[in-house]
Amino acid sequence: MSVESQETNAPQSPLSTTAAARLVAGREIHTQVRSKPFVISTLVTVVLIIGGFIALGFMGGDDEDEVPVAAVELPAEHQQMLEETNFEVTQAGSMDEAEQLLQDGDVDVIAAFDEESYIQIQLIGLDELPMTEAQNLSVMPTMDVLDGDAEDSDILYFVAMAFGLIYMLVAMGSGMIIMQNTIQEKQNRIVEILLSAISAKALLAGKILGNSIVALGQFLTMAVASVVGMAVSGQLEYLEMLTWPMAWFLVFFIPGFLLVASVFAATASLVSRQEDSGSVMTPAMMLVMAPYIVALFGLNNDLVMTVASYVPFTSPVAMSVRLFDGSTAWFEPLLSMGILVITTVLVMALAARIYSGALLHTGQRVKLSQALKSEN
């Protein structure tokens, strides 16, 4: 604490905005990654995703099991046909014996000779028609669709839900953290100390940057967990289908999240107490939930999905789903991306003004117009 040390070491100019923002971002990341709730919730999510894929794998494997059947007076060629189509054949000497086996639950169904049937087999169930078992014997033609890829609508639904849910969970989680941090800094006035060292712009930029990196990390963790889950449960064939939509989703996710983060930060700067956050957060929350709701209710409505794929807040999910569906022209994702990026830049600039204007007003909730007008 001598005069000399001050003259030799003390920096004589403030940090550049970029350097200051990087420091702020570093602190945000550091603080979050080390917090217990964050680590636990990430681990739980990873376990759920991997577990989910494994569970899906088991359910899928169930119909591979052989169906026990009691064969009554069947010619050898018919018995062979049963064995080839996933039946486990038990010989029954008579119909009575076969019925006994079925009653006891040793077999699921009885197969008897029937001349009237096209394949000359009659299947007899216990108390209902053996539809499932009969399907083993049915012959299917090959199938395809004219428009788009042949992905079935179940998978499309699954992808839409997954994208919508991941986006909502990650954006909402990080958005809430940005909100809490901003209000906390305002509530306990550390913001005055911070702003005596760096600019409000640097603080906002650092906060958005840091939390976006954390959110991106969470997103990638979920993606890796999904791939691991598919690999472990032997469903890697889906991966090929999902690679491109996931890559697009990631590309859309980045500006989409910056947009959400800016809205949350600007919103939070309007209040000075955690208790008041409820009064301002509704619009931000609705913007985060919109993509999921669109995916949930608008999936089968082409018009809704097309419009949503251009609206900045819903486009990250809606456009990714449409890309998966294969219903887009080549320029559409680029156009939608352009709209999203421009909106993000504009909203960030607006958020910076609100943030700078409202950050040092404490006490009552700051009105939006007031924050925009205020210079300090």
């Binding site: 604490m1 003390a10 702020v24 906390q184 800094e185 100390i193 702003l195």
Partner: protein, 302 residues
């Protein structure tokens, strides 16, 4: 030298600062005193640039403040606040880095400073686990870690026990001796009186008076004299031009003009052995009360 010229500020139409002008010199502890709502915190926030003034200028050594010169300021806000869950050494290091210190330098400084404030054993503790007094010391470290040339401290001593006051005072005095300008506000007038050579008094958003402590005391309040003697002093009551404040047979405290006081002393010497005779300057609380009384009178007149 830090100088404020005619600073005005209004909040939603209500003017809270009226042409506030004063200066604080390097190497000195300058006390900024005033009642609740007098405008101390607003003035300090304007000096720091966290709040804009409506008009007026602030200069440091003659040149207007810029982001660069303000980066050499240290600030302790009235309402204490740092990150509650962050380890104290980490957060002081973080603040030093925001002021532009390298990582190594910042870490070293943060630790040295916290140790000198008596927090050696708490470096890796989260702020919220510390007692109020210790949190206050961390807050002071936050204002000091970048070795600022100008220190603006809003009520730095409130909530501290006498031992902590001394520790903080020592660190502040070191900074002032090293050439820093230290301005701090307080409503604990006895503390300010003990610590500061320079005073600025603010009331209702106006600077009421400023200057050296002794000058202020001489300028304001009535001069009093204390006389003690072997002999009975009750005769003093009958002297012309003398107003008795306190009297016991061997000690008297009275107000009077200087010539009258000397007449009393001469008389006392004749009547017995004078043990002591000294002028008593008014203390800050009295000066402060006088200002408040003036205001009440004005209000009554209006």
């Amino acid at each position: 030298m830090l100088q404020l010229h005619d600073i005005c500020r209004s909040f939603s139409g209500k003017q809270v600062l009226h042409d506030v002008s004063f200066s604080a010199r390097p190497g000195q502890l300058t006390g900024f005193v005033g009642g609740n709502g007098a405008g101390k915190t607003t003035t300090m926030r304007i000096i720091l640039g966290v709040l804009a003034s409506d008009s007026g200028t602030i200069t440091l050594d003659g040149s207007p403040l810029t982001a660069t010169s303000r980066s050499r300021f240290g600030y302790m806000p009235a309402e204490r606040g740092l990150y509650p869950k962050m380890k104290i050494a980490e957060q002081i290091t973080y603040l030093a880095r925001l002021h532009g210190f390298s990582k190594e330098d910042a870490t070293q400084r943060a630790e040295n400073l916290l140790v000198s404030l008596g927090l050696k054993d708490r470096l890796t503790d989260a702020l919220e686990t510390l007692s109020t007094g210790n949190q206050q010391r961390v807050q002071i470290a936050a204002a000091l870690v970048h070795e600022p040339d100008v220190l603006i401290l809003d009520e730095p001593f409130s909530g501290l026990d006498p031992h902590a006051v001394d520790q903080v005072l020592q660190v502040l005095t070191e900074r002032a001796d090293a050439g820093a300008t230290v301005l701090f506000s307080s409503h604990q007038l006895d503390v300010v009186e003990r610590l500061c050579n320079e005073l600025v008094i603010i009331g209702d958003g106006k600077i009421l008076d400023a200057g050296g402590r002794e000058d202020l005391r001489r300028r304001h309040g009535s001069l009093r004299y204390e006389l003690t003697s072997d002999a009975d002093l009750s005769w003093v009551q009958t002297q012309p031009g003398v107003l008795i404040d306190e009297i016991t047979p061997e000690r008297v405290l009275f107000q009077s003009e200087e010539s009258q006081a000397h007449a009393v002393l001469t008389e006392a010497v004749k009547r017995g052995t004078v043990k002591s005779f000294s002028p008593i300057l008014p203390n800050l609380s009295e000066i402060f009360r006088e200002f408040t009384a003036d205001k009440t009178d004005e209000e009554a007149a209006a």
